[in-house]
Symmetry: C2
Subunit: 346 residues, 2 copies
């Protein structure tokens, strides 16, 4: 499944040369913090206060907005909300690396777009790929194997591939303040779900280890899967066809499909999360709706209304979304002023 | 949504005349039992022993087949495995009652099949409905409203509709020995899922109250749902089109889609559960695969290899399934000899 990459391909094979560093002991450290001072990586301000007030209102038995534990559902977008999504989604880097790995078996790709651009490492052209180009890349690189085989491929990649700017594993580029929100909510008996436009099975490969979120609490986009009985053994084979697009209205639909309950808290950072926040906010009682605004070019990136980056088709925090947030009373988190620390390794 | 039913329709409106009886306090009673003697409604024998041995092997830290709690997944078919499915699925009775309720708004149904047969209360003809007939009935009676409205309609029906033979609420016709299995597994840190060919949203209307299973642990067949923003409020509208058929190979696919882990235990009673048991059994280590065989005409029903009932298109426990069970070492539960008690009310 993983032929030796060509020399040329190595430029895009991010981090394959790096050794696997020890992961920071995130959970031990922050659990202890949560008991003493919740959200310690947050500066005091409206955003932090909104989270504290929400938890108090929904967990205090004397509150008119008390929510029984079985209904405490919180949903989180992943890319740009829990970890870095610039300059590309981690899963897009994975797909590009897969194209290089698979290329020896597909000589026709050298003259066929979008593969030609990927194999030529033409980064400027790649930034202009259409959704259809990405869909073709994802279908080819993510299908044609069993679910178990895909898990192995993704796990192997995640253990070595590094981010081009931060030179760290993608799984280290998770936002420490958001990890604290996950833990704070779980300590208050909320179930924390990831609701991602990205691939459900890709995220499930690391969600437990990285976020403390089990596979059954990851909702995402998925491919058609076929049941196969081979030599008496059952396997599930990934087909190159989208089954469910968990983005935009798909996020509200996916939450209802997988959970069957309306969230009390929802966190996002782009137009892909708009319907999830609308759906959350349409419930009765107190609901927490938050958007991460990337306005910190020094520590991470600045894009959306904060400007500073060209339109890369990811993380679209439009002015219209900012206007809706204001009109509906959603809380906008400023990465720059609300977060003391962005990453755990800082 | 629920116009007054005509006099003629009342014949099929099972139990509408009955008052809502107090539900037996199932969970309090059996939880206490589970602590002292697990599976007390089971006779000693191979089936009971298989469950006890499985739990011991997977939860004993010194066992080579120890399974960490996060991987302890158990899946249960519903109709015929957790509750009565004869002479029709409860959800089919619900659909028939809905046709009568909705008929005043659909005068054309009087001359249009399969509605004509339903409205004429022609039970013998109804027994010969094709899958397509049922699909049409389900689409019409289960769609055209929001998810919240459907929940309300189903909840109202469940509170009064009664089974034609037992004259009890359908939710009272759950198998006491299986409730004890659910509780015994949960007491041993297994997550218990319903994996049903029936409607996911129908089962979610009562799963917590009746089985102690939360909505997010109910996987079933579902309709296409559309996101709608009306007067600024988000709603999810049910469309008359099947989205996911959680039966046969769909059960293995649904488990992977919703849970992302292979079960260690699976319980079924028909060919619809075959792939779920194959998929469960294809994992490594010790896996529990069980089939409920309905061979007890006196206390419940006898069908499948036990014969005694005409083919009603439900609960197909074929001879081929019995042969596969033997070949693969699945445990067949005899309702007659393995269960001391069938229902809690006995």
């Amino acid at each position: 499944m993983t032929p030796t990459p060509s020399v040329a391909s190595r430029r895009l094979m991010l981090g394959v040369l790096g050794a696997l560093p020890a992961l920071p002991v995130l959970f031990g450290a922050t659990t202890a913090q949560a008991q003493t001072a919740p959200l310690s990586s947050w500066n005091d301000g409206a955003a932090k206060q909104a989270i504290l007030d929400f938890v108090k209102a929904t967990t205090d038995r004397t509150s008119e907005n008390y929510v029984p534990p079985m209904d405490r559902i919180a949903t989180f977008d992943q890319d740009g909300t829990l970890w870095v999504e610039q300059p590309l989604y981690a899963q897009a880097f994975f797909a590009l690396d897969r194209v290089h790995e698979m290329a020896p078996h597909h000589p026709e790709w050298k003259s066929h777009e979008p593969f030609k651009t990927v194999l030529a490492n033409d980064l400027p052209a790649l930034a202009h790929f259409s959704e259809r180009d990405w869909a073709e890349l994802l279908a080819v690189t993510h299908a044609g194997m069993s679910q178990s085989e895909f898990l192995e491929i993704a796990t192997k990649w995640l253990a070595t591939a590094k981010h081009p700017r931060f030179r760290r594993l993608f799984t280290e580029l998770i936002y420490q303040p958001m990890i604290e929100v996950l833990e704070y909510l779980r300590a208050n008996q909320f179930e924390t779900y990831i609701v991602t436009g990205g691939g459900q099975d890709f995220v499930r490969a690391y969600s437990q280890r990285v976020y403390g979120i089990s596979t059954q609490q990851v909702i995402g986009s998925s491919l058609v899967v076929k049941y196969q009985l081979k030599d008496g053994k059952a396997a599930l084979m990934r087909q190159p066809k989208l089954f469910f697009n968990d983005n935009n209205d798909g996020k509200a639909i996916g939450i209802d499909l997988f959970i069957g309950k309306r969230p009390y808290a929802a966190f996002g950072n782009s137009t892909g999360d708009q319907q999830m926040l609308e759906y959350t906010g349409s419930g009765n009682g107190v609901r927490l709706k938050m958007l991460v605004h990337h306005d910190d070019a020094a520590r991470e990136y600045a894009y959306g209304p904060a400007g500073g980056l060209p339109d890369t088709k990811v993380g679209t925090f439009t002015q219209a979304l900012m206007d809706e947030a204001k009109a509906r009373g959603w809380t906008v988190i400023s990465m720059k002023s609300d977060w003391k620390r962005v990453f755990a390794f800082e």
